[in-house]
Symmetry: C2
């Protein structure tokens, strides 16, 4: 095989004795160049291979078969509990890195935990609780070495916006919190179920464009929500859309202005100035990171510094009495059990389930995408379905221990990655740090100014509005841009759920449209070669008089069978009138099925109809290069054997053309003889 | 072009000066063999061509552009009103055929109209009304020469089953009828809208398997419904599922038995005997048609004969007094206007809209499928979207003139076709016949025994349970068989809507699964040729050491991008360990994109990720034969130009292999030099 591929095509050449005998393929020696029409896999094998491809596309148990039973069980256990895999080989060398990374992400986890809990209108301490238990569990069950577990802004706001349709935090804080725990429980159940039943493909339905638009829109409305904190306001809307928020910002300013004109201005002024200072500091630390990537740790601990500096400042100037609202009391102590607080009353359950499923999908999409993209840099593998189980376990356990929804957020995981983490141990380190904070330092965070949290959120969110990505999408694919914009505008102007579902709906419609209208093209011969290509793409490609060569792409299903029939007949008509204009008859239509990956009952029926229709016009049909699955169906349905004839199925386009030409010449010379 | 395609591949051969310079393509003279990377259509052109393919797949206005404006307007008018096209050329020669066909289908329309109206629990006269106005309109606007318009069994039962959830015919016959008219009105609006907006592709979502199963199931429950007529029962369930119907049949027999034991037995006995006679007669006429296709007219007029004989018999023996229930009074006179009876109260509207849309889709699917399959035999063309408008107009007008839903039913159209109809004029003839019946003969049908109608329905329905087709599906495609069975069992055991929607849902899930899990395969060289084929399908195909050749099929979207990335990396890993075991390194991966008809933003991102991932392993990637649309996206996104390099895109697999081999040899000889 070290030499050039031989261009001897002796095997391909026809041994047709006569066109009318229709026995166009040779018998002996030509097997290499024929379509294997007897290839038929048993049903069980086919079903198994299809199920395996659908549900185990990453084939996690590859290579287990060769092991002895005990080793196999151990491998399977290691597959489900990855900690068993890395822990025995864990040593001080790795721990140094993980310790550093763990402390760094802990410094980020404290301000983020408090901020996002406030974003969800939850007591701030819940944010810290949520950074304690789930990371420990992820360290045991998770397969990503880079993911740092914690709460996320988008899902926090989504949960709040759904649960507030049932009850607001002001009306009944106890029930409000219970619904968050219950939602986290359902999220966990749902994620585990998806993982166990290998349904990771549901997450695939969130396309990049949808996620880009959704994240951008969410970041936008989260920033808008921060008006409350930045302007030191007390009353605010529970809605998330831009119009409600702007209206609320304006309306309550006015209202408060009337009642307490002077104090309001004081509040606003102090909070706003402090906010601007924090924003400038955070933005410049972020800018620094871009300029000098080695100083990433500055931007990593900047939020923590903002919290500390803000807290000290607020403590010194007694901020809460001078227009700088603070977080307020934080109780010392570890997570209390919340298992008894899960509420399964049918009245509230619907909301909790809805919130749980939607935020669960979102959290999965973010967590898995982050895990995968970081793993790719290190050339590691992430098993999406196993990750789902890990997320699910951590959320179920979280819902029992006063935590709300957690996943692997992008910002924290990236910091973890850059800080040099080696294993999930960094999550354990973070968890221990948070534990220490909860046990001893929590009350100190009482003085954290709300405006500090708001600025942290704003800066974290600005990076998520990816204007460049929008432009790129517009340039490359207008439809993807639409999908992205639907998500963005839907979130900004309506609700998060509306934006997300409209965008997913549009993506699915587009995918179905692609399936419904597959590309077909006429092939021509590229001069001086045996290559046949789309004449539209390669205008120099020449067609062969009397023979129409069509390439069908994509599977043939019920959805597109009708269209393909019309389209093929239209090609035939066009070609026919073209042929007639130069004094030929169209006599052969060759369908190149190389791009048809599968065919269903309607598809076979379509081929049959086209065949009959062409037969009535005196045109002969030939098929080339059907794939394995297509060949099976065509043979089983009797189309190839009983109607078309085996001899009209060819391995290559060239073979088909040769056969057609031979038959053409035979019939022409016969015609001349008769004349 | 009359000679063999030259096998000179000089243009393909590489002129690489050095592998490290990566300038692998030749410059001059080789343009014919290169992928045209500058091919980029303007956005407007691309959008237009995509919209045209999506909504005008049959390109109805083809060739209009060349005409002068006046002729063009006339052509357009003729397109919308096909009668203008055929009427001027219509003469006595054609009329002879249409007259015969029209009388034949009228003889079928009378018993079918009465039967199906009774199936829908409507007064029998409505069935005759529905065979008068709609055919006239179809003759003007319809484009099929073979379709015979009338009511259909499946849609009649569907309408009844939906409307009876709101009100039953016994409770409020007036409202019940009004809802039928209103439903027909919405059906018409919906069908017209679908046609105008060229949304015919919605009908494509009803796959052959779904329709086969649904029709079979419906036929089954319709036959079960006939127990009422065949056994001469008065009380019956309004539900359609097999369990309710059997239970009702048993239950009411028992009840009536207790109250009127003797009379009941008399009734049952007479009706049943008469029914069996009719059934035998109809079945044997059908059998005759199969044996002697020329005598099709016997089976065509057999139902009419059953009605006449039954009527005469019932009249003579005073059947209604002796256990043979009859149809009862039929009023003389043409359709009264019903436009004032349409009810748009929000209370009932929802039901009417639901009934209208569902039965409308079903009616369209049947009408268009029938029209197409009959047209195909005569080699005519049917424009699905135009047909929808014709159906829509005829249903709207029907709803104004006391008609309920009509379409082109299979049985009647087939009879029309076999009777030799030439144009839609046969519908006019039928319409005139029905008019005469309505004006003069209607009262005569008063004596038609219900059992005669039941036997007509049973025989018509038996043919719709296509056991052979079920077996065929089971043999060819197990999944299609499942889809079919879901429809069948759903209809039989639950409701018609359940069966239909479950089956459509399953079909769509399957289509999405196919999109989500496209086939990939490893290609190998078929010995003695330049052909590369799936090694699984052609075990004799040999792979090339150090080079992995993968073929991707189907479009690359967000739905399958994640899967394809995993799958490609898995192929690479498998091949890598295979290569290592024989002492090679895997150095090149060639992706054959010939089967990839389109790619979206996620797809391009996937290629980029795979590229980076392979680069980190020291593996070079090459693409072959990207199609027009894919090339555009790859170039626009910057992947080809900035990351991959133009020189790694090849026109054919052979070119790519040659280039890789050349580079391999260069690096090996370089390595040897260094040693």
């Amino acid at each position: 095989m070290g030499t050039e591929a031989s261009s001897d095509d002796g095997h391909h050449r026809l041994r047709a004795s006569s066109a009318s005998s229709r026995h166009l393929h040779g018998v002996g020696g030509a097997s290499a160049a024929e379509v294997n029409l007897s290839a038929r896999r048993p049903f069980a094998e086919k079903l198994w291979s299809e199920l395996a491809e659908t549900f185990f596309p990453d084939d996690p148990f590859r290579g287990f078969g060769a092991l002895p039973p005990a080793r196999r069980a151990w491998s399977a256990l290691k597959y489900f509990v990855p900690a068993l895999d890395w822990a025995p080989r864990y040593g001080l060398a790795k721990f140094k890195y993980d310790l550093l990374a763990g402390i760094t992400i802990a410094s980020l986890a404290i301000p983020q935990g408090i901020s996002y809990a406030r974003l969800a209108n939850l007591p701030p301490i819940i944010g810290l609780y949520s950074s304690f238990v789930p990371p420990l569990l992820y360290a045991v069950f998770g397969s990503s070495n880079n993911l740092a577990v914690g709460t996320v802004a988008a899902a926090s706001l989504l949960l709040a916006s759904i649960i507030e349709t049932e009850v607001t935090a002001d009306e009944n804080p106890q029930l409000y919190m219970q619904l968050f725990y219950t939602a986290a429980f359902f999220t966990g159940l749902f994620q585990t179920a998806l993982g166990v039943f290998r349904l990771g493909l549901i997450v695939d339905f969130l396309s990049r464009s949808t996620i880009t638009g959704f994240m951008g829109g969410t970041a936008m409305i989260i920033i808008l929500q921060q008006f409350k904190g930045l302007l030191g306001m007390k009353h605010f809307t529970t809605k998330t859309d831009i119009i409600s928020v702007l209206h609320s910002t304006y309306h309550y300013r006015h209202e408060v202005q009337c009642e307490l004109p002077v104090q309001f201005h004081h509040w606003k002024w102090q909070s706003a100035v402090l906010g601007i200072c924090f924003l400038l500091f955070l933005l410049s630390s972020k800018h620094l990171r871009k300029k000098l990537p080695k100083l990433f740790w500055v931007s990593a601990i900047a939020p923590f510094m903002v919290v500390v500096i803000g807290g000290v400042f607020a403590f010194l100037v007694k901020g809460d009495e001078h227009g700088i609202p603070i977080v307020g009391d934080l109780k010392k102590g570890l997570n209390p059990l919340s298992i008894s607080q899960l509420t399964f009353q049918s009245r509230h359950m619907k909301t909790a389930v809805k919130a749980g499923l939607l935020s669960g999908i979102l959290a999965l999409a973010e967590g898995i995408a982050v895990g995968r993209s970081l793993a790719m840099v290190k050339n590691e593998q992430i098993d999406g379905n196993k990750e789902m189980i890990a997320f699910g376990i951590m959320n179920i356990a979280g819902s029992f221990t006063s935590c709300y929804l957690t996943t692997g957020p992008f910002s924290k995981s990236a910091v973890n990655f850059h800080a040099g983490c080696k294993t999930p141990m960094s999550n354990v380190v973070m968890s221990v740090c948070i534990m220490l904070v909860l046990l001893f330092l929590a009350p100190l965070f009482k003085y954290t100014p709300l405006v500090a949290l708001s600025s942290i959120i704003v800066v974290a969110m600005i990076g998520l509005i990816k204007v460049k990505e929008f432009c790129h999408l517009y340039k490359v694919d207008k439809f993807d841009f639409c999908i992205c914009m639907v998500a963005f505008l839907g979130v900004v102007f309506f609700t998060m759920v509306t934006g997300l579902s409209a965008s997913v709906g549009l993506s699915v419609v587009r995918a179905l449209l692609y399936v419904a209208r597959p590309t077909t093209c006429k092939l021509g011969n590229i001069a001086g070669s045996e290559t046949f290509r789309d004449v539209k793409q390669y205008p120099q490609a020449k067609s062969i008089p009397g023979i129409l060569l069509l390439q069908l792409g994509s599977p043939i299903y019920f959805i597109n069978a009708g269209y393909l029939r019309e389209r093929i007949l239209r090609w035939v008509e066009d070609e026919d009138s073209l042929c007639k204009s130069i004094g030929h008859d169209l006599q052969y239509v060759i369908l190149d099925l190389g791009g048809v990956t599968s065919v269903d009952n309607s598809g076979v029926g379509m081929l049959l109809e086209v065949h009959k229709s062409l037969e009535r016009r005196g045109i002969t049909i030939a098929l080339t290069n059907p794939r394995l699955e297509v060949t099976e169906k065509l043979v089983l349905s009797g189309y190839v054997r009983d109607i078309l004839g085996d001899e009209w199925v060819f391995l290559t386009v060239k073979d088909a053309i040769t056969a057609c030409r031979y038959a053409l010449q035979m019939s022409r010379s016969k015609g001349e003889d008769e004349v």
